[in-house]
């Protein structure tokens, strides 16, 4: 394998020492509030379960993720990492990581396409035995360009919805040649990340971008999946009057039975003060809706891509357009109505100027599962065939137990008789 020229972060910075220090400060703050990783770090450092492994990672290189990377390295692995999005990298965190003796970080903020892929190649040059992805860049690059590595790969982990969907598609086509855990799909991730993480951070990001409050507002939540439930529940908990739009009748009924108003977007458009899309679909708020909206509304996206709100149509409609506030673009109509788009319709808890992404504790749960999955691959990798695998329930439960223990929360266990009773019940008597 040829040596690429792409150098690690330290060669990109002027003040490496200063960057490391600042990056470490950021990591420390997060780590202080990541009890699961803290517990795993202790175990991993003592037991070195990942000795002999090389882990290739492409993830958002910021403080929370960095703590996962370090736990893996402390567990005995060699880790090579790069970013999974040129804009999400914190150079200081990247530098702090790179100073760890087992870690090489190639993540640099704001690189161009060529550099981005060179960095991925630089990671692959370490000949990873395990991959950890946030959007399957690493898996794709290996399958496309380094198929010869696959034989020595134990397996991989994928963090995101998008990544998992694409991997399943590859799998269906018979094109996925090693085992990958769908970390995204575990209950531990879906429930907490979406309901609590997206819900809380989206609302706080909007409030701190706009200086507006929720009490008494008509808040339209488009979509009532996990994210939509979270946003609706948290907005209601700030005394907003929540309106839900849905396309699936049972979800619509669920929202109705929870006590929310349910209506089509065409009606909601007329009464809403704030609109939050959480559907994962496109064109959820479109021209006819913009035409019906009141002056001063806020439009934001907490779903996936920036296509839920049709900004092209909005731009088309608008007579004028200007930055009303950092992170808020006002589209002014001919009739004087101003429709305010927060964070360009991109994920508001990531893209707003004050946004910090998901809360630390929520990422701790998700990354705890990641670390446990990597360990599982080392210990039992051979038992998983090529393809996408659900995370075993035991691993997910183990992470829940660690979290509960760290929070000082005790719970019951089944007695022998109870276990038998449930067993007999489940198998019929």
């Amino acid at each position: 394998m040829s040596q690429t020229a792409y150098p690690p972060i330290s060669e990109h910075l002027d003040d490496v020492e200063g960057a490391r220090e600042e990056g470490r400060r950021k990591m420390d703050w997060a780590f202080q509030h990541m009890p699961i990783l803290t517990e795993l770090q202790e175990d991993f450092e003592a037991e070195k379960p990942l000795s002999g492994q090389t882990i290739g990672m492409a993830m958002h290189v910021e403080a929370k993720t960095a703590n996962l990377v370090e736990v893996l390295a402390d567990g005995g692995a060699e880790v090579a990492i790069t970013g999974c999005n040129p804009l999400s990298t914190h150079d200081d965190v990247s530098a702090a990581l790179d100073s760890h003796e087992n870690i090489t970080s190639y993540a640099v903020r704001g690189v161009d396409d060529e550099e981005y892929y060179a960095a991925i190649e630089a990671v692959i040059d370490h000949e990873p035995s395990i991959t950890v992805d946030d959007g399957m860049d690493m898996v794709a690059a290996i399958h496309d360009d380094y198929p010869e590595l696959i034989d020595s790969i134990v397996g991989g982990c994928e963090e995101t919805t998008t990544g998992v969907h694409r991997l399943r598609a590859m799998d269906e086509d018979g094109a996925l040649n090693y085992a990958v855990f769908a970390v995204n799909d575990t209950p531990m991730k879906r429930l907490f990340d979406n309901v609590h993480g997206t819900g809380e951070s989206s609302l706080a990001s909007i409030a701190m971008t706009t200086n507006l409050s929720w009490a008494g507002k008509d808040v339209v939540v488009a979509g009532y999946g996990y994210c939509g439930k979270g946003v609706a529940q948290k907005a209601s908990g700030q005394n907003a009057n929540v309106i839900v739009t849905e396309v699936e009748p049972r979800r619509a009924l669920e929202a109705h039975m929870e006590g929310y108003d349910v209506m089509p977007m065409s009606e909601a458009a007329e009464v809403g003060d704030v609109f939050l899309t959480t559907t994962g679909n496109r064109d959820v708020i479109v021209r006819e809706h913009f035409e019906a909206m009141q002056d001063g509304v806020l439009l934001a996206n907490a779903g996936h891509f920036d296509i839920e709100i049709d900004l092209d149509a909005l731009d088309d409609l608008a007579a004028d357009r200007y930055e009303a506030r950092d992170g808020v673009e006002a589209y002014e109509m001919d009739d004087g109505r101003r429709l305010n788009v927060v964070a360009e319709g991109r994920l508001v808890n990531l893209a707003a100027p004050v946004a910090l992404g998901h809360p630390v504790e929520v990422m701790d749960q998700s990354f705890g599962v990641q670390a446990a999955c990597v360990r599982e691959l080392v210990e039992n990798g051979e038992s998983y065939g090529a393809g996408v695998h659900d995370v075993p329930d035991e691993l997910d439960e183990e992470i829940a137990e660690i979290k509960l223990a760290a929070e000082g929360v005790e719970f019951d266990s089944l007695s022998e008789e109870q276990r038998e009773y449930m067993g007999s019940w489940e198998h019929g008597t």
Copy 2:
């Protein structure tokens, strides 16, 4: 097939006319609040989709169920019905049903075992082509004693958790010889019935049995499945301080993240004011817990059988025992503490003296699915092989749509582009 001697309800009553009238009044009240059955009744009466079918039913014969029975009869079916529990039958409702030209009701309150089974046989003598069960009595009797009928049976429906579990066990053993829909397992039933139905009716039953309030009470909810979530959410909504006990770590964590206190029952026993079991397991509250409880606590069950609270152990411990109030048995300890058991530890929303069972609207959803499943069996029964079948999503969604329409709730539908986008997404691009 021999003629059994067991007569329908009308021959058991003195004042048949009076009973019919009172039964009709009860049914009318419920029907007024069953928009789904109302809608289906209109369709069924107009289209007679069940013409030529004979339906054998064993269900609780009270006002809500009676409306399902009548809708099936109005749809063209001959219906023969008996109770599924000798104590749950309302004779007046049974009489009102029996007065329908297409219905014969054998349900009589308080019958003994022999009569109970004679009534089941009487139903089977009608040679049902479809069975509708609440605890699989009808399926069992046919398989055990009338196997010759099975060939002409299109299929069946089962309403309960217990029934479905047993049917699955039969199915696994290869002993289930016709198709049965697991109505119990649909989202429409699980979500609304358990969360809203059990939650609300259990709390209201306790309040109206005891004249006590929820505000400021420490309410211990054992189990955080659907029922437990419902009870916790509704108790919290009455300003109780909710404490959850669990044996599964992820559920425990879910309760913790919802903001509830989570602890082992041994600790909860010391602080709780009211204890509600919702586990479906046995011996959830036992001797050591009784010993730790405060004077004046309430103990009730909203789960399944009356074995969640170990009443034998409690009786053993108690120095005295008396009816403190209709529906409340006080167990007095040597040290003067009084532990108050509501409704003998049986399902509190059914067994408390003032209890009315599940709310009407909740049963409307569940029975709407039943009616749709019966129609599905007639229309497409041949496509379902012997065994337990999940209710097709389309039927469940249809019922949700009918409910929403009846409530005047409109919702969106996917555009062609959106459908394509979701499709492309789900299959990967």
Copy 3:
């Protein structure tokens, strides 16, 4: 003073012993959940602070009140009591009270007007030194017919809003000739009684009268005072979608900012599923509203008198009228719509067939204040001039402290420095 012929309860009953036993059982249940009265009872019994006093009472003679009566008697007072409403008396509880050596009870259920006033006279014949009223019947009778008693009266207590209003009117006219505590107006009563007591018991009474649920219902709450807030909060806590109607703009805004829908009754009438009046005013729901309502709505009153819903107009409009269910009168319109009035539009938590009045704990707080006020009259009565007096904050706080102690709730106290700081602050520096 002449001897009246009106005899105590025991002479009105056939089975006095049986009645006493049943009455005692009812009282015991309540007392078990009245920690404040329990604590005061112990003190009163030990210290006999009411020795030498005679207390004349006209109150609802049922289990909760009876415990107050007994505490006063245990405190050394002679107590003579009668009912304050001929229909609210429980004869068995009256008999149990009457068996106490210091108590004579003249309360008998269902007496006619003549007997009702004879019973009041019988109480006054005991020459009370203190009066305790629930609607100022005792105060009125003494001022009207026995003014000669006033000189020896230490003071009185009044439980109700109505009573206090009337007393204030007398006071303004210079016609109130002894001191009366406005027990009704204390924070301890208003907050808990109205918000939690009325809120919870009204909703539970409706649910257990109708077998209907709250989830997803549009519940219209007329009036957003303390009662309205309680009903709105508790209904929202059962997943209803709450709609508030108001006439005072700041209250309307408060409801709006809490996240509720606010609209005029004329609009609410069109969308509501359940209507609850809590205004204390008349004609809140009238003909034009009935005309706009949907089929199957529930109408109930949780405010004061049965004039909030204009039943005459409803009767006028209705083509038919019948008892749809115990406690529910259906008014059927020409167009087939059925409007269902619960408990005849009287206070639903008192007048519904299953209703039990206010929860025990709530009355415990209110009666705790009563007992403390009676003791205050004995100890410091001379310091209160003729007229209506607010309950001194110290008494109200004392009851709060007793309740918290009974619940095992500890709280902080101010340090000397903190007290000084607050003092300096409040007096400006």
Copy 4:
């Protein structure tokens, strides 16, 4: 009166034009969400009710307040303004204000004491007929140094708790020589500002400073007044487990009955994850509490001054102290525990780096009352004698009505009969 040398903001800035533009942008955003001021602005501009008046103001010169200032100027008044805190001034907003033909702004960020008072004098040199204060600086300066102006002063308005307290003290001492409205004390301000404004903005500021979430956290709220209720309600609405500490038993009971845990701070210290003080008192969290706290806790103040958390004692205890994150100071104990103080224990919704102060809508209500009070002083000033005056209910109601109208919320009004009924009731019949 001598001419002071202190110049308006424009002479302090290099790029006045640029500052004005940016200041205007900030004001516009706020104004877009201030429907009450928008409505009053239209009326004021049309009717010029303040013609001939000169208003002297000392307030926080930032976007929200600036809109009030401009409304007053548009109403015909000459306005001279300076800051009420050298650190809260936004120079760009000050410049934008100063560009209004009727406004002179002397507010400059970061001035020293001498300049601060020179700016106040500069305002007074305009010889105000009305004062509007945020902390009574203007009233104090006039009474102390320019008593000769008092005769021509119509009256004043005071925005803050502190200011009102001091004015009442002056009033009691007979030292307040003109009428001042206690704007701070209106229901419109207290309810919304404290409950919704403080509650929401404090929690959002903490979340966006720390990247932490609320779900499942034990959040200790010290004090259960209006602010404490707001913080508790909003934290609970984000799925925190709320613990309340109090010194007043009825408030403690109120919190308990709401379903919160209530305990002394010494116990809460052991279990809390986040501590928020809202008492207005000093030394609420002290050495013994720090000693008991867990590693990683957050400490913040949402009450008044920065003396609620005893930071001196904390500094004393700490082995080390460092900035853990912008806006977070970590105090590290000998045993390794880190206690994290947010925003130096100053008001967290003002002093945190990302903080934006109270939400716009909340200030709109408060400033709406201000504007109405200024107009009232002009129209009926002579009817208010020297001293502190409550804002007349009609003004407060008028502002509520304007807000409701702007939100499109309609409400009912009393019929003649209802008004009579309530009247008769209130006066007793």
